[in-house]
Every structure is written in C-alpha cells, then in structure tokens.
C-alpha cells in the first residue's frame, strides 16, 4: 500500500518536469505570437501526429527495426571483441586504441566514408548503428571481465581451471553488471544513430521524415517525427533498465 503510494508520488514528481516543459512551450508560443513555421505549439504537433498516424507508424517501425538490428549486431560484436581482447594482452593492446578512435570520430564524418564502401542505402545505415552500439559494449564488457570478486582468480588457478573455464565460470558472469551498463548506454544511442543515418542517407524512416519536413519548413511534421523518435528512444532505455534490474536481482 505504502510502496504503491510512494511509487505514484515518485511518478508524479518525474512527470511534473515533462508537463512543466510542455506548458512552458505552449506559453512561450502564445506569448511571443510565434507562427507555426518558427515553432508550432505542442497541441498542433499532437494533432499532426494523429492526422497522419500511418506515416509516423511505418517510418517509426523502420527506425525501430534499424536501431534494434544495429544494436543487436553491435552488442554481439562489442562483446565478442571484448572477449578477444580479454584473452590476450596483445589483442587488447591492438584493439583498445582502435575502439577509442572509432568512438571519437563524429558519426557525421564517418557516414560518407562508409557510404562510399557500402553504398547509399540501408546497409550503410545499419553499419553506422552497429558502430555506435559497438563501443560502449566493448569498453564496458572488457572492464567487467576484469572486475572479479576478490581472490576468485587465485581460486580458479588453484582449482586448475583452463582459460576457457576462467571465461565461462568467472569472467563472463562477473562482467554481467558492467555489460548491462554498456547496453543501457548503447540502446538510446542506437536510436539516435539510426535517425541521423536516415536523415543523411534519406531513404525512409523517421530521420527521412525529419529531413523532408525540414526542407519543406513543416515544423509540425518535424516535431511529430521527433516525438515519435523520443518515444522509441525512451522505450529502449526503459527496457534495458528493466533488463538490468531483472538480471541483477540476485546479486
């Protein structure tokens, strides 16, 4: 009962910030008398969304699929490369600076390069999302693989564990909390990367809608696309947070 009440209260506090922002937005538009080309009010954005639900739904689905596929492949790749780096000091020495460089290059600068190699289509979009998801998973998995409980490494040595057993029974389970942190960071970034890729490559998806709306000065459309993207992004974040809570419940 009490916890229910407390949760409701907390939710209210959290939502109040968002509601406040929307009220401020509406107030600002009304007070300054801005027209819809500069900044439409929140109501007109919602109306736009309800007017053409199919546009936002199908393009949103495209963005969602792209982000999910890229995140899944990036996670797989990041985790695998981290394990390879863990397994040998040489690989770690080679891979860590490479990962660092790739993460520091702005995504916008990478897109033309990748597009030259893979072509101006969905393959490049996917490659970008993979690249963006890869880095947090690589870094956090590698960190987690080394965050062992005290004495555990000595224990495994005295038990005569092989390198593979070290990985399967000790390092991988030990890395789970850190891996989940990496995943939670990568998930919303994957959505952002998908939208930026769509925006620049322009085939379909919310990023494409955004780009089209921008060039036609349709601010309602642009904001409605942004709103849809935000919903996807927040959902990704919340789902990964739930996943984290579930998997670490017993720790």
């Amino acid at each position: 009962m009490l916890t229910g009440l407390r949760t409701a209260k907390l939710l209210l506090v959290q939502i109040s910030g968002i509601v406040g922002l929307i009220v401020l937005w509406q107030f600002w538009v009304a007070a300054r008398g801005l027209n819809t080309i500069v900044l439409p009010g929140p109501m007109s954005v919602v109306l736009q969304l309800l007017n053409e639900p199919a546009v936002y739904f199908w393009n949103g689905l495209h963005t969602l699929a792209l982000a999910l596929a890229g995140l899944a492949l990036g996670t797989l790749l990041g985790t695998t490369v981290a394990v390879v780096a863990w397994s040998s000091r040489l690989f770690e020495g080679i891979l860590t600076p490479l990962g660092l460089i790739f993460s520091s290059v702005p995504i916008v600068a990478l897109i033309p390069v990748i597009a030259r190699i893979l072509g101006y289509d969905v393959r490049t979009e996917l490659a970008i999302v993979i690249l963006i998801s890869f880095f947090p998973l690589f870094v956090f998995t590698l960190k987690g693989l080394k965050a062992l409980p005290p004495g555990a490494s000595d224990l495994f040595q005295t038990l005569g564990a092989t390198k593979r057993q070290h990985l399967a029974w000790l390092a991988l389970p030990a890395s789970l909390p850190s891996w989940l942190t990496g995943f939670r960071i990568a998930a919303p970034h994957a959505v952002l990367a998908a939208i930026v890729a769509e925006f620049l490559m322009g085939t379909s998806g919310l990023g494409h809608v955004l780009e089209g709306a921008r060039s036609d000065l349709q601010m309602q459309r642009a904001l409605a696309a942004s709103l849809s993207a935000t919903v996807i992004s927040v959902t990704f974040f919340l789902l990964s947070a739930v996943l984290e809570q579930r998997l670490l419940r017993n720790r």
Partner: protein
C-alpha cells in the same frame, strides 16, 4: 581411498619480489617436510612471508630458489589434476552462485559429474544444509568461511591449504570454527597447511607449529604439539596448552621489532 598419502616438501625454498628497482626477500631458505596426513601451522609477524609460503605450495607463486613438491609433483601439476584444496581469508565465493553451486564449482572445473550426495554430506558437516540455496551475501562471515572450506574439501584433495581462513572473524566465531575444523579434519586426516596469526588456533589444530622470523621469513622454531587426537575444546584449558602458547608468543615477540629495516 588413498587418503593422507601426500607429503609436502619445501626444499630450501626462497622467494624474493622486485618492487620498483629494489628486491625484497620474502622467504629465505625454508627447508621443511610436512608428512602425509600432518597438520602444520605457520605463525609469524605480519609481513613475514607466511602467506607467500602457502602461495608457493598452492601454485600461485614460483620460488626464486629451491623447490616445492607435493608428493612427487610440482604444485602447478597438482593444480592441473585438481588435487589442491585451498581456502582464502577473503572466502572467494562467487556472489552470483548459491552456496550449493559454489561448493559444486570444483566438480565443474574438473569436468566431473557433480556428486550431489557428497555435497549434501559436506554441507551438513559444515552446518550449511539449510542455507544451500542462499547467496554468499546473505550469509554471515563465519558461514561464508564454512562454505569456502566445504568447497576446498569437495574433491577430496591430497592437500588442504588454509590462508588465514578465520582471520577476519570475531573471537567467538573463530573459536567455534576452530573446533568444527578440528572435527572435520579428524574424520580423514588430510595433509594440511594453515597460515594464521593466532597462537591458540595454531596450537589447537596442529601437529606441529612453525614459527617464522620477520622479513625475510626464516624458520626459527618448530614446535611439535603433544596433545592427542581427536582434541576436545578442553585442551585449550590445559596448563600445558597455556605454557606452550606463552612460549610461542614469546618467540614471536622477539621479531616484532624486526619489521622495520
């Protein structure tokens, strides 16, 4: 069962570490044989290299000079054959596994089928039957050490190596676990090395107590403990026990000052 069949030989073993440009001698020319089925404790001032001796026997460090052999084999081979049982001061239980799964771990590492009956027996022996599905963080410090000792014993190792397993526990719990360990050990005398700070603990549990000097660790005294087995806690009230404890404390105190160079 070829229980109690393995002796440990420390053949003029020395170990030094390089710290920066300096070389620090931790253990100096320790020459000692621990007989099959014997319980030997090492006591000494902190930093005297007693843990280093255990780590060499446990295949965690290699001696700089001399050899360690267990039976006829070097410790690393004993480890590969899963013949070492080791318990550390920081229990080293895996926090994501239940107590039972932690005790099972050596079976998994040795790629042997898990013997549930044996695990039940051992958990019962260390008084953790009711807690087999608990996680380490749900246990008290004493219970964690019990689980860690159960894990060390599960494969019926040739030697048992205990590195201050009760060092972080309060006096009452510690005494309790000493009595329990003595009972467990009395069932099948397994060659055991115990590293400890506690003179009472060493006397109560051991067949011989080895006193080490301050850094570098040298053997200054080997005291055979005259009490028979199995020992009841009443041994600790024996006047002879107190006298031996005083003697050991005295031989230790001679080296307290030697920690500073």
């Amino acid at each position: 069962m070829q229980r109690a069949g393995t002796s440990i030989r420390l053949n003029h073993v020395s170990k030094s570490f390089s710290i920066g440009r300096k070389t620090v001698a931790a253990v100096d020319a320790v020459d000692l044989t621990i007989e099959a089925g014997e319980f030997v404790s090492f006591i000494g001032p902190s930093g005297c290299g007693k843990s280093t001796i255990l780590r060499m026997v446990a295949a965690l460090e290699a001696p700089t000079a001399g050899q360690v052999t267990i039976g006829d084999l070097p410790p690393s081979e004993m480890a590969q054959h899963h013949r070492l049982g080791v318990a550390f001061q920081d229990h080293a239980l895996l926090p994501w596994l239940t107590v039972r799964k932690n005790v099972e771990l050596p079976f998994r590492i040795a790629s042997r089928p898990v013997n549930d009956q044996q695990i039940d027996q051992l958990l019962n022996l260390v008084g953790l039957s009711e807690f087999d599905r608990a996680r380490p963080k749900q246990l008290s410090g004493g219970m964690r050490q019990r689980a860690s000792i159960a894990r060390a014993l599960i494969l019926q190792p040739d030697v048992l190596l205990l590195d201050e397993p009760f060092g972080a526990l309060d006096q009452v719990t510690r005494r309790h676990l000493n009595i329990e360990l003595q009972n467990i050990w009395a069932r099948n005398a397994i060659t055991t090395i115990l590293i400890t700070h506690s003179v009472d603990e060493a006397l109560f549990l051991s067949d011989r107590v080895v006193v080490l000097s301050g850094r570098p660790g040298r053997v200054v005294k080997v005291l055979p403990v005259p009490f028979g087995r199995p020992r009841s806690p009443s041994v600790m009230r024996d006047p002879l026990f107190h006298q031996l404890a005083d003697d050991l404390t005295e031989s230790l105190e001679g080296y307290v000052g030697s920690e500073e160079p």
